[in-house]
């Protein structure tokens, strides 16, 4: 990450983000805040709420169908691994191909990393339960050459709105969702929202920081 003006981050009751503790955790939070705020105007702040989520928030219950047609609860998919999640839908031709390409690059970098890539994962979560199913998600992943570190899933219809409320992931326009990346710790708690379209290298760097390998 390039240099940003010095930012402070309260150390009082700092929540657990993952493995890092003490000064390294504060450093991570400050770093994440600086990254998430890069290039932001007040409007973007208000709508997308990028930055560290303090305290971390557990993801609401949501039944999902994965690209391999396995059914699960979203929290169980997230638990045990650090996750970078993006919103998308397979019928989206505007921003989603860009998001897919960025995650494809991030997965390549993550897989090429020296340390425990399997401790982290990428997840594309569809916001179109009516239009997307396992087959559509599988085909969408295949277009980008997705590997084992990157999965896709679609929530049940009744669980979509609570998820979007939780993520603050709505956006006006035909694509209807932000292009942010949402980071979850190993306890399936939301710890960070980025700005729209973060660079793949930043996604990997934040994943690795949360994994405690950076």
């Amino acid at each position: 990450m390039t240099a940003f003006p010095a930012m402070t981050c309260s150390s009082a009751a700092a929540p657990a983000l993952g493995s890092p503790t003490g000064p390294s955790r504060r450093k991570l939070l400050a770093s994440a805040l600086a990254f998430a705020s890069a290039g932001l105007g007040p409007t973007a702040w208000a709508h997308n709420a990028p930055g560290a989520v303090d305290p971390p928030r557990p993801i609401p219950r949501a039944a999902i169908t994965r690209h391999d047609d396995r059914k699960a609860d979203l929290a169980s998919l997230l638990r045990g691994r650090v996750t970078a999640m993006q919103l998308m839908f397979t019928g989206c031709s505007n921003t989603c191909p860009i998001q897919g390409a960025l995650f494809a690059a991030a997965e390549q970098q993550l897989a090429g990393g020296a340390t425990a890539p399997a401790a982290g994962q990428l997840l594309s979560l569809s916001i179109d339960p009516l239009g997307d199913d396992a087959a559509a998600l599988k085909a969408w992943r295949a277009k980008f050459g997705a590997g084992s570190l990157w999965s896709a899933a679609v929530p049940a219809m009744q669980d979509l709105d609570p998820l979007l409320d939780f993520l603050q992931g709505r956006k006006a326009g035909p694509d209807r969702h932000t292009a942010q990346v949402y980071f979850f710790n190993r306890r399936a708690e939301l710890v960070l929202r980025t700005v729209d379209f973060p660079q793949p290298a930043e996604v990997v760097r934040l994943l690795q920081a949360l994994m405690g390998v950076a």
């Binding site: 505007n94 390409a101 326009g173 035909p174 694509d175 729209d196 290298a201």
Partner: protein
């Protein structure tokens, strides 16, 4: 001594024939030049169409990346047609919400307020500036998700020709 009348007639005939040959030659030359020009315009239009669709063309791929990013995106993520429609100058506006402006001769070349800026119109050079730098003719920056393209001059010319010209064999709408 004056030449006989028949000789004069022959001279006149030869002169007439020469004129006819000249006129036919000029007409043929003009026709040939016109055909060459039309073929060149058709090629340019086709190349611009291929670039717009994100297809390989004689002019090479149109590579692009998001502003501030280090790496190019794949063609499937940067093709113009992902977000824009083209042509349709006299079409009724689509009722479906469009993600990005429809690109056609009328919309590009008529002074129009864009992105909250003052009225502005494009030409080939300003389209090229927008493609490369993301800045429109009124100096307003386009949205973040519009890639910045490493467009060559030839690619810019072809895209402009495609966007503001009718398809080969068709008249302007």
């Amino acid at each position: 001594m004056e030449p006989p009348a028949s000789v004069g007639a022959v001279r006149w005939s030869l002169a007439g024939l020469a004129c006819a040959v000249l006129i036919a030659g000029a007409g043929g030359f003009w026709f040939n030049q016109r055909q060459v020009r039309l073929e060149r315009e058709a090629d340019l239009w086709a190349q611009g169409h291929q670039l717009f669709q994100g297809e390989a063309s004689e002019l090479g791929a149109l590579s692009g990346r998001l502003a501030g990013h280090a790496d190019d995106l794949p063609a499937m993520a940067t093709r113009c047609t992902n977000c824009h429609t083209s042509g349709g100058g006299t079409d009724a506006p689509s009722k479906a919400p469009e993600f990005a402006p429809r690109l056609n001769r009328q919309g590009l070349t008529q002074p129009t307020p864009r992105r909250g800026g003052p009225p502005s119109a494009y030409d080939a050079a300003s389209l090229c500036k927008l493609l490369r730098e993301g800045i429109d003719p009124a100096w307003v920056m386009v949205r973040q998700e519009m890639p910045r393209y490493a467009a060559t001059d030839a690619q810019c010319v072809a895209l402009w020709a495609f966007l503001v010209s009718p398809a080969p064999g068709q008249a302007h709408p």
